[in-house]
Amino acid sequence: MDGRVTISELEKVYGEGPERTKAIEDLSFEVEGGEFVSVVGPSGCGKSTLLYLIAGFLDTTSGTIAVDDTPISGPGTDRGVVFQDYALFPWRTVFENVTYGLEENDIPKEERQSIAQKYIDLVDLDGFEDKYPKELSGGMKQRVGIARTLAYEPKILLMDEPFGALDQPLREALQDQLRDIWDDLGKTIVFITHDVEEAVYLSERVLIMTRHPGTRKSVAEIDLDRSRTREEIVTSDEFAQYKNSVWRSLHEETQTEVTL
Amino acid sequence: MRHATSQRIEALPAPVQGIAQTILDWIPLGIVVVLWELVSGTVVAESILPPPTAVSSLLVELVVTGEVFSHLFISLFRIAVGLGLSILIGVLLGIGMARSDPVEDFFDIFLSMTYPIPKTALVPLAILWLGVGTETAILIVFLACLLPIVLNAYNAANDVNQSLVWAAQMMGTDERSMLYKVVFPATIPEIMTGVRQAVPIAFVALVSAELIASNQGIGYLILTSGQIGNYPRMFANIVIISAVAFVAVRGFEEVRNRVLVWT
């Protein structure tokens, strides 16, 4: 199990004629198997588009995306997505949402129970198995989204600003939980965010995209000792340096925007 | 297939594109009309299903000679009055109920009870009271349209953004001015949606009344043409009222867009 993602000369164009817009231009990037990479960029740079292209929801205009050297064609169970708006099935309970992927992949019923329970416990939602999404808070829904995607064990996790709609304390708790999960399971993670601090805190490398049409601007290597506590990490000098360098790079892209 | 055809259309020069698209959209109906023409007189007796050619020529005749106009006018008059009254009273009632608890307490039970009753069931009652004719038709249209409009106005008035009300209050608006300076304008978009929904209801109510309790109007014409066996005429009248209903809805949408420039 590798989970290496290779993106070559990726281009994505929307619309035709006078409404033609190029969302992504000549983007090449490689994510190693088991790596945790964040993608940041100014609004409208195409971060989410990039994610949906890797996921196979959208077709490329040109260029290729390959997983372990095999080009992708459409969505697949090797690439799991955690959506910004959760995308839970409202007619299914928490438990049933988590077992959905297992059902589709023909896992026998008894095994489904135990696997689902394991991942529900992992995201601290035990006791809520029979609740419907309408009864859950945003943070809980997102955790169900994560559990659901982990349950059928895709090689690669694609996360689209998953904590964007949550408040700060919750976001921090989930970030830490995500790091723990990554430490445990070792999956490849591609994490979209507009929060520079979050990107630096979570990942080993940060891909910074240019503004529209998005392409690769720079890549920052983040080498932090993450065995420390959150507070230690966030208040350290290296953290500040990484944060500033990413922020500066990003800020150059937003420089020409109109100021109030 | 859609994609392939739309690609081919894109390949055409601009002015032709619009025409090509329109033709494409209407082909299924064209097929239906052609089948209709073929079936009539051959598979099915012409009396039962007059061919589109007969219907359309009669249609032209009716319009040109103006035979149908007096009846059309009566029907439209009835709808206009019935709908107009229901808007007037419905909006007042709806907003009144939303803004005043005693008013709501008084009327609420009547509305809940009559809500599930189809108002056309009241046609015989209307005949009882008002006999056969225009008053009955107006009453039925009024009753049928009233509830949707009241409901819409009520919801709209309840949904008025509280911040708007507070802003007005802080600037010194009293309750009476509040109603017509803030609440009413804020509710207009939603009320117009309610009226838009009421228009087809008005037509259904009108035709119902005219089929049962009238000596004039398009509904009456449809019924009598059927009764005397003049089927092309019957179909022609149906086409007329449908076309009018369609225009009425479209026309109203245009009006709404003009009036609601601020949305």
Binding site: A55, G74, P75, G76, T77, R79, G80, F83, A87, F89, P90, W91, R92, Y100, G101, E104, N105, Y132, P133, K134, T149 | M1, R2, P28, L29, V32, I48, D105, F107, D108, I109, F110, T114, P116, I117, P118, T120, A121, L122, V123, P124, L125, L128, W129, F203, V207, S208, L211, I212, I218, G219, G226, M234, N237, I238, I241, S242, A245, F246, V249
Partner: protein, 261 residues
């Protein structure tokens, strides 16, 4: 003083007051109705006293007439509605998922929508006569449109993310419709039924009033023609019960089926 019992009776009293506030206007109207009728302030034919109407209602129920006619009306309306539901949902959902189906049915749906379906009653009388079948077919045709349009629109509006989520977890295109699209569209589809239900009654009533053949609509008209206004009023009361019953019934079904909303 026992605080608990005082609170209890206080609670009951306030609930009673609430109830009173919501029905007092109705009670006033009913009482006035009875008085006006008893003292014949308005001619008996126009407004019989409430008691006479209720008596007539009981009479007709006991003789079986009311039930029989109510059954006829319901039978016609509901069978027609059922037929329209099956076809409407089929066409609606498929139109949203399949371009070819949509291309074919879209103009048909657009044209049919503004036609006041009631105006076709004489046509249906011509084609299918004035019996039950004719009424059922008319109801089916008339209610097809709201069901189909709602089914189509709610299927089209199913969130793309839900479909993508299902696909990423391995759902084949064949299974998508049943596993994800249909449940997600169900609330809108049921709304279509809720709109079509009163329409089915309207069509049935008008058809019965124009063509006869039994049913509550015919019963009402007959009351007018035979100068037995109590019959008309009694039939209207039956209509009210049926209308309320069906509406409540459908809402119950909706909340059971859609308990997750």
């Amino acid at each position: 003083m026992d605080v608990t019992s005082e609170t209890q009776s206080g609670f009951d009293l306030s609930r009673l007051v609430e109830l009173g506030k919501s029905v007092y206007s109705l009670v006033i109207v009913l009482v006035l109705w009875e008085l006006v009728g008893q003292f014949e302030l308005i001619h008996y034919y126009f407004l019989p006293p409430l008691s006479d109407i209720i008596l007539r209602f009981i009479e007709l129920t006991l003789s079986g007439d009311m039930l029989y006619n109510a059954y006829l009306t319901l039978y016609r309306a509901l069978v027609g509605l059922a037929i329209a539901s099956v076809f409407g949902v089929l066409v609606g959902v498929l139109s949203a998922r399949n371009d070819l189906v949509d291309w074919f049915f879209d103009p048909i749906i657009k044209i049919g929508y503004p036609v006041p379906i009631i105006s076709l009653i004489p046509v249906f009388m011509l084609w299918f006569g004035i019996g039950d079948i004719s009424k059922i077919i008319m109801v089916a045709v008339g209610t097809f449109w709201p069901v189909a349009v709602n089914a189509r629109d709610s299927t089209q509006q199913v969130q793309q993310n839900l479909v993508w989520a299902a696909q990423m977890m391995g759902t084949s295109d064949r299974r998508l419709l049943r596993r994800v699209v249909f449940p997600a569209a169900l609330p809108g589809i049921i709304t279509g039924f809720q709109i079509a239900m009163p329409l089915s009654l309207i069509i049935t009533f008008v058809f019965e009033m124009v063509a006869g053949g039994g049913g509550l609509g015919a019963l009402e008209i007959q009351g007018v023609r035979s100068f037995q206004s109590t019959q008309t009023y009694a039939a209207i009361i039956a209509v009210m019960f049926i209308g309320i019953g069906l509406d409540r019934g459908l809402r119950l079904i909706r909340s059971r089926l859609l308990h997750w909303t």
